[in-house]
């Protein structure tokens, strides 16, 4: 196709779209952004208007709309017109190859990250980068990979995943306080307990599919949280559990004492050692999750999960016990949630039901969906953007010079979150990496285009 296709640009329509988008934004944001309630000196509630901020937001929406109409859309049309048949699959294969070569690089970076952070931010400044960014993101990557078994592979939409995270965290907190077991004993125990709860949840919901399954799992997540709140003698209710024993370096605690980590290794005491240790701990746990789930995918059980997602009735006709297959997916997913939960409790030293709200479940599901269901690499990228992005909002202090010292970028977390979701759903409705990698091949490994792969609908 050598003939150049000139895309038609409808100026009137583009302007109309931009105007409409601006008006809608104005209507929505006028009460949300334009007006703010504050308490004045006489302790009265007053309304303050914020015209500059409002105008900035509306203008940015109008500009984006204009850009879409006059720049992005014509560009993509031209590209679509030029693109020959089957090019999209080739592009997907190219992307898969890139992903393959990125993997060792990403792994190497993950291992060197604490050193890089110390080099760039200094001994004191790096705590924030390793803890708030590194550990936090890795926890969510691990949760995303665990949930990926249930949602991405088996196709069961689980909106209550945080319940297993909570089971893991409370198992660690309660058992370590009651019996004084160490982290290394309780880590597998928390995983087993969470898997047990996964099976327990699995049984009643086996007959449900799709939306119904999603609602029941959501309710299960809330039940666990409400039990944690109300069973005060055991869980401490809203007050939570504090002074949870911290993990030790194979028996050597990270304290300033003589038998502490720093003293034993002849180093100067610093809380950073613990943070770095925790970073490598969660990195190893996350990699374990990835290794096990990716390995399971290539085993008969993993193929049965994916077959279940594709067609449950055909599975039964081939002698696959769908009950056990679903329960195994729930149990494996929950187990990794439990591991992550016990790590979370050990890292925080304090847990309360606040940490296990529905918002967390929604966040993990969003990571899996945005990453592309079933793709470990996509899930990791999505977790970095979603968790790292929201953490990075704290760093945007320079915006205060534009919008005044009252402006707090972290308050726009949900707004940006929603906008990012909408954009991804328009741009890549099946997630960042939507192609499927076959688990076995005869002649050559061909990536399977997203249109053939079923989405998890429960």
């Amino acid at each position: 196709m050598t003939e150049k296709v000139q895309p038609r640009i409808d100026i009137l329509r583009g302007l109309k779209d931009a105007l409409l988008a601006g008006l809608v934004t104005l209507g929505v944001l006028l009460p949300l952004i334009g007006l703010q309630t504050t308490v004045n000196i006489r302790n009265e509630l007053i309304l303050e208007d914020r015209p500059i901020l409002l105008a900035a937001m509306v203008t940015s929406v109008v500009v984006i709309s204009l850009l879409v109409s006059f720049v992005f859309r014509p560009l993509s049309q031209r590209r679509a017109a030029v693109r020959p048949e089957g090019a999209s699959l080739k592009a997907a294969q190219r992307r898969a190859t890139i992903a393959k070569y990125t993997m060792p690089f990403a792994l190497g970076f993950a291992f060197l990250y604490p050193l890089v952070a110390i080099q760039l931010a200094g001994w004191q400044g790096s705590v924030k980068w390793i803890d708030n960014f590194g550990i936090q993101i890795l926890i969510y990557i691990m949760l995303g990979w665990g949930l990926n078994v249930v949602v991405g592979l088996a196709g069961l939409l689980d909106l209550g995943y945080v319940a297993f995270y909570a089971v893991g965290a409370y198992s660690y907190a309660l058992l370590s306080q009651a019996f004084g077991f160490s982290f290394w004993v309780l880590l597998p125990l928390a995983g087993i307990l969470a898997a047990f709860w996964g099976i327990l949840l699995g049984f009643p919901v086996l007959r449900l599919r799709g939306d119904y399954l999603a609602i029941v799992t959501l309710a299960f997540g809330e039940i666990i949280r409400l039990v944690l709140i109300n069973w005060v003698p055991v869980t401490g209710g809203y007050a939570g559990i504090s002074s949870i024993p911290r993990p030790t370096f194979f028996g050597i605690p990270f304290t300033a004492n003589e038998d502490g980590f720093a003293a034993v290794f002849g180093l100067e005491f610093s809380p950073l050692y613990r943070t770095i240790f925790l970073y490598y701990l969660i990195l190893c746990l996350a990699l374990l999750t990835a290794f096990v789930t990716m390995r399971l995918r290539r085993l008969p059980i993993g193929r049965a999960w994916e077959a279940l997602r594709e067609d449950e009735i055909a599975c039964r006709a081939l002698g696959i016990n769908t009950t056990n297959t679903k329960l195994s997916a729930f149990a494996i997913g929950a187990m990794f949630g439990g591991f992550a939960g016990s790590f979370f409790a050990a890292r925080q030293g304090f847990i309360s039901p606040e940490s296990f709200t529905f918002m967390e479940s929604a966040m993990i599901v969003a990571i899996v969906v945005l990453g592309g269901m079933g793709s470990a690499f996509g899930v990791a990228i999505a977790a970095i953007f979603m968790i790292g992005g929201t953490e990075y909002l704290r760093e945007l202090d320079f915006l205060k010079t534009i919008f005044g010292s009252e402006f707090d970028p972290t308050q726009y977390r949900m707004l940006l979150f929603g906008a990012a979701m909408v954009l991804i759903m328009i741009w890549k409705p099946r997630g960042l990496i939507s192609t499927r990698d076959p688990t076995a091949f005869l002649h050559e490994r061909k990536t399977i285009a997203a249109k053939f792969v079923k989405e998890g609908r429960g």
Partner: protein, 301 residues
């Protein structure tokens, strides 16, 4: 009608959905290494019978017994029926009561495989993967319920290699080796039909139930299908139960034909017997038996 050579005996099968009687007091048998065709006009209850045999429906009444191994097992049928057990597996032949078994157990233990009227392939998985999923049972055992598999131990690796060999063998039979690494959803319709049969055969069945395998195929593909089914019967010693509307296929390959109409058996015998049975002609023409002659001359039969 029942002989020791039967593989399947359906006795007094009745299936009611609320007030609707889909199948009424149906009895027939299918014999070892034979192709038994189940035919009848639309809505006759053929697929319902299939769903009862393969465990997808629990019949309202009746007994569905399957025997594999040795004919002598049939002597134990009444004893098994009186016991609460589902199956009686011994060295000298196994006996199964299919109406008591769950659908996946029918496939797993009684080794009854089936295909579907509307093709049910795992569309997002490759052709090869479809055939590997079918070998779930032996692979699952070899993987030590995933524990050996995760560690990548040799017993599992060997089992996986054997499974791929078996898949390739079937891909050669249905002529799909070149497309082994393509998604099943990408195959043309006729290839999907053949792949579904190959997938069912990969479960190592003693009885293969095919629900309208020739639907939507052109005459050349139908002829290929007939050859494939005869090969399955003769070389793989698998008995076949077949629902089919395409009479060219039925009359070419069936050893035994059972005709259903409104859930009741109206004819049962060899293909020549059934072809000339006035009951069957009446049912297919949609008229009473005494009007058959008049209508037949009218339409030029």
């Amino acid at each position: 009608m029942s002989t020791p050579d039967d593989i399947l005996r359906v006795e007094h099968l009745t299936m009611r959905f609320g007030g609707l009687v889909a199948v009424h007091d149906l009895s027939f048998t299918a014999r070892h290494r034979e192709i038994t065709a189940l035919i009848g006009p639309n809505g006759a209850g053929k697929t319902t019978v299939f769903n009862c045999i393969t465990g997808f429906y629990k019949p309202t009444e009746g007994r569905i017994a399957l025997q594999s191994g040795a004919p002598a097992a049939w002597h134990r049928l009444d004893a098994l029926t009186d016991s609460p057990k589902q199956k009686d597996v011994r060295d000298d032949g196994a006996l199964f009561l299919l109406e008591r078994m769950a659908d996946h157990d029918v496939a797993k233990y009684a080794r009854v495989a089936r295909t579907f009227q509307n093709i049910r392939l795992f569309r997002g998985m490759t052709v090869l993967e479809n055939l590997l999923v079918a070998q779930h049972k032996p692979l699952m055992q070899a993987s030590g319920f995933s524990i050996f598999g995760i560690l990548g131990l040799p017993p599992f690796r060997n089992a996986e290699a054997n499974a791929i060999d078996k898949a390739v063998e079937w891909l050669e039979i249905v002529n799909l080796v070149d497309r082994a690494d393509d998604p099943a959803g990408d195959l043309p319709y006729g290839d999907q039909r053949r792949l579904e049969i190959a997938r069912a055969m990969c479960t190592d069945p003693v009885l293969l139930c095919l629900d309208e395998p020739a639907a939507g195929l052109n005459p050349r593909e139908s002829a290929e299908l007939s050859e494939l089914l005869i090969a399955i019967r003769d070389q793989y010693k698998t008995s076949i139960l077949l629902i089919e509307h395409d009479m060219s296929v039925v009359m070419q390959i069936s050893d035994h034909v059972v005709v259903l109409d409104y859930g009741v058996k109206i004819s049962d015998g060899t293909r020549d017997y059934v072809k000339n049975d006035p009951n069957v002609i009446a049912a297919y023409l949609g008229v009473e038996q005494d009007e058959v002659e008049a209508v037949a001359t009218e339409v030029g039969l």
